[in-house]
């Protein structure tokens, strides 16, 4: 049976894919890579058309009402799936906060609980839920992995991407000195406090550069835009890629911020 056939098996879990707004705009490849990985793992995948943004910008700014407005249609669109998967720890983490956003709401409170319980970041979903690690990709370069904060500390994502990347043929993973240090993106933080963010991202890409790795991998497009943007400004030659591009064998496109 082909992968596609397996994916269409009626007993395979029905996954709602939320590509996230940054992937939608900046890095569609990540959306297709995630879709492909989910299908390889035996899921039936639907991409609801009405998806926009998870509400992080307003939630982290302190605007609870705006967050509710943004989250309600998303909850309705996604709550019916077996699972909801995102190629981002911070957006998956945001959906895990929905019960807090709708605390005391008799209608959306319970729905938010349901949705939060079945929402996962992609590498964690493949590893922890699907028990899938049949990675058949190759990537001939040394790489270093940046642990994005929400994924790492809110969702406990650390071993999963590394375990999957270990199965990529030709890929040699080297660790930074401080892979868990925040890159300074922080959503609106990077423009609210540009100078502080600059100090943080400078430290980060210096750490990356010191490893000598040719590729910088992370599971969060926001962090990647920040780190790739700084690395380019400093003239570093490192290629920035989302973990799904490498795992799905879709790393033949130019890396983030690279020449076309």
């Amino acid at each position: 049976m082909s992968d596609l056939a397996a994916a269409r098996r009626p007993d395979s879990p029905h996954v709602g894919l939320f590509v996230t707004c940054l992937v939608d705009v900046y890095r569609p490849t990540v959306g297709f890579a995630t879709l492909s990985l989910l299908e390889k793992a035996g899921c039936r995948v639907t991409v609801p058309e009405c998806q926009t943004c998870c509400g992080q910008p307003s939630w982290n700014t302190g605007d609870r009402e705006a967050t509710k407005r943004v989250a309600r249609p998303l909850i309705d669109a996604f709550v019916g799936f077996d699972y909801v998967v995102l190629p981002s720890g911070s957006c998956a983490g945001m959906i895990r906060y929905y019960p807090d956003v709708f605390q005391g709401d008799p209608v959306y409170g319970p729905k938010a609980e349901q949705l939060a319980a079945k929402t996962f970041e992609i590498t964690s979903f493949l590893t922890d839920i699907m028990g899938w690690n049949d990675v058949r990709a190759s990537y001939r370069d040394s790489a270093t992995y940046h642990d994005s904060c929400s994924g790492l500390r809110q969702l406990g994502i650390k071993a999963q991407p590394r375990a999957l990347l270990a199965k990529v043929e030709g890929l040699e993973l080297v660790e930074m000195q401080r892979p868990e240090e925040c890159c300074g993106f922080g959503g609106t933080f990077c423009v609210k406090y540009g100078e502080i963010s600059d100090r943080m991202v400078t430290d980060k890409v210096t750490d990356v550069d010191t490893t000598g790795a040719g590729t910088l991998i992370a599971g969060e497009v926001g962090c990647l835009l920040n780190m790739a943007g700084k690395a380019k400004r400093l003239g570093h030659r490192v290629k920035a890629r989302h973990v799904t591009e490498v795992l799905a064998g879709m790393a033949d496109t130019p890396a983030i911020g690279d020449d076309r």
Binding site: V19, C21, D24, V25, Y26, R27, P28, T29, G31, F32, V47, C50, Q51, T52, P57, S58, N60, T61, G62, D63, A66, T67, R69, V70, P73, C149, S150, L152, R153, E181, C182, G184, F185, G186, F189, V191, K192, Y193, G194, E195, I196, S197, D198, R199, M200, V201, D203, L225, N226, G229, K230, K232, R233, A240, T253, I256, G257, D258, D259, R260
Partner: protein, 474 residues
């Protein structure tokens, strides 16, 4: 001390330009973090101990009045005095009264963040009483007329050359050409100066890391032994402590002690852990004749029952700031008041008003490292977000932020318009980026492109490509 927390951004700008500070902070960051990690690796029950610490303090905060009153009873039984002070002014006046009663001309001081909070030194000087800091770090910043930049290492921003300059300027009794390039020389000189002060002082003021209800004891942890000399040699000992420092029993105090030094300096215990219980008894060979405890509220009771109550579990170990990338970039002075770093960004708005500290809750990427290392499991990022929400509710957020959020929510709830808009952005930026695949200067994102390139999008959005593929497949 006049708070400059509202100018955090400018303060941070100045701090980032300071190369000496950058060097000091990078050394500090590595030192404290590695020592803490090593100490915790040797204690398998550390995580369980954190749970115990959290539960203990939660229990105390639910029964704060009960334990404080028991503490007072025990202090009084042993011949001490307890002074309840609602705010900084009451605490200052109480201390002044005690000092004047004793005809005090000089007071020695152990390290106390509460003394910083009520700006005690400045006040005493105004009233003609000379306060002498005896903790080396505090002594250095007292000579330099500046506030601490870290809650356990107050002079972390000062290099040894800067210390030598301060000593030469102040200690005129020594030859001008004496060598002061080595830490040992600085230490010996400070010790020589301070010895005389310890003997002369009429009153000794210390802080307290804990107050113990069952025994009426106060506890300080120090590494220099200065605290002991401060409280044992003068005739009067004043303990200045905030109300949330109370724990029920000696056993509970030990739970906190096991967490405190490991989280702070990576020591198993600090060099000195000193318990003080009342004034000198007839059979004691030394100790103060009078023992006063000044109990300060200063806004803390107002945090009880609110979303900020958990902050009162804080034991002032500084692990949050030692691990904070923002603190690591700007240091403590940028935060503009007494308490810096994540704990300061939560506590300062509660104590001096959010309107005076509006930028602080935003001075974080919410990376979560602080909560990860907090021995008391204080959900600091969650509380920073709560402050942001308070600002929003009270209309303190800038109008343009409000407008931006409304526009964002308006667009995000109109998927068709959103699709059109995101497609235009993706297309526009991709064209702008051209063959280079990145943009060096973008007028609408100047804060971004001032320091880094903006990687260009691929061109089409995911949704555009996906929809086309779906149509093709049909």
């Amino acid at each position: 001390m006049n708070a400059t927390s509202h100018r955090f951004k400018q303060n941070a700008h100045d701090a980032i330009a300071d190369e000496k500070l950058k060097k000091a902070l990078s050394t500090m960051k590595v030192g404290f973090r590695e020592k803490r990690a090593a100490a915790i690796a040797k204690l398998p029950e550390f995580e369980a101990l954190r749970d115990a610490g959290r539960d203990l303090k939660n229990h105390v905060l639910e029964n704060l009045d009960h334990y404080l009153m028991r503490f007072e009873e025990r202090v009084v039984e042993q011949g001490g005095h307890v002074h309840w002070c609602r705010d900084a002014e009451e605490a200052r006046q109480t201390i002044l009264r005690i000092c004047r009663d004793k005809g005090a001309k000089t007071v020695t001081k152990g390290k106390s963040m509460i003394a910083e909070e009520i700006a005690l030194n400045h006040f005493l000087e105004e009233k003609g009483i000379v306060p002498v800091e005896t903790d080396l770090g505090e002594y250095i910043i007292q000579l330099r007329h500046e506030p601490p930049s870290h809650i356990i290492a107050p002079a972390i921003h000062v290099s040894k050359e800067m210390v030598a300059d301060a000593f030469r300027e102040t200690h005129k009794q020594y030859p001008a050409d004496r060598p002061l390039s080595e830490p040992r020389q600085l230490l010996d000189e400070a010790r020589d100066v301070l010895r005389g002060q310890f003997i002369q002082a009429d009153v000794g003021i210390t802080g307290a890391n804990m107050l113990i209800a069952e025994t009426g004891s106060t506890v300080i942890v120090t590494n220099e032994g200065n605290g002991d000399l401060t409280q044992l040699l003068p005739r009067t000992h004043i303990v200045l402590a905030s109300i949330e420092k109370i724990v029920p029993t000696l056993d509970d105090a030990c739970t906190v002690l096991r967490l405190l030094a490991r989280s702070a300096t990576g020591q198993e215990m600090s060099s000195y852990t000193t318990f003080s219980t009342g004034p000198r008894r007839p059979e004691d060979r030394d100790g103060p004749e009078e023992f006063h405890v000044v109990l300060l509220d200063n806004g803390r009771s107002g945090m009880l029952g609110t979303e900020f109550q958990d902050m009162l579990r804080c034991i002032r170990c500084a692990a949050c700031m030692n691990h904070c990338p923002v603190y690591g970039a700007v240091g403590g002075h940028a935060y503009g008041w007494v308490y810096p770093g994540p704990m300061g960004s939560v506590l300062t708005p509660a104590l001096i008003g959010i309107e005076n500290a509006a930028p602080l809750p935003h001075a974080s990427t919410l990376c979560g490292r602080c909560e990860q290392v907090c021995p008391m499991r204080i959900p600091l990022p969650k509380m920073l977000r709560h402050w942001r929400e308070k600002e929003f509710e009270r209309n303190l957020a800038p109008p343009r932020v409000r407008q931006a959020m409304n526009a964002y929510a308006w667009l995000a709830t109109r998927p068709r318009l959103w699709r059109w808009y995101t497609a235009a952005v993706a297309r526009g930026l991709a064209l702008w980026g051209g063959k280079r695949g990145r943009i060096a200067s973008l007028p609408l994102a100047r804060e971004w492109t001032a320091v880094r390139d903006m990687p260009a999008p691929e061109g089409e959005t995911f949704m555009q490509r996906y929809r086309r593929q779906q149509k093709g497949a049909r």
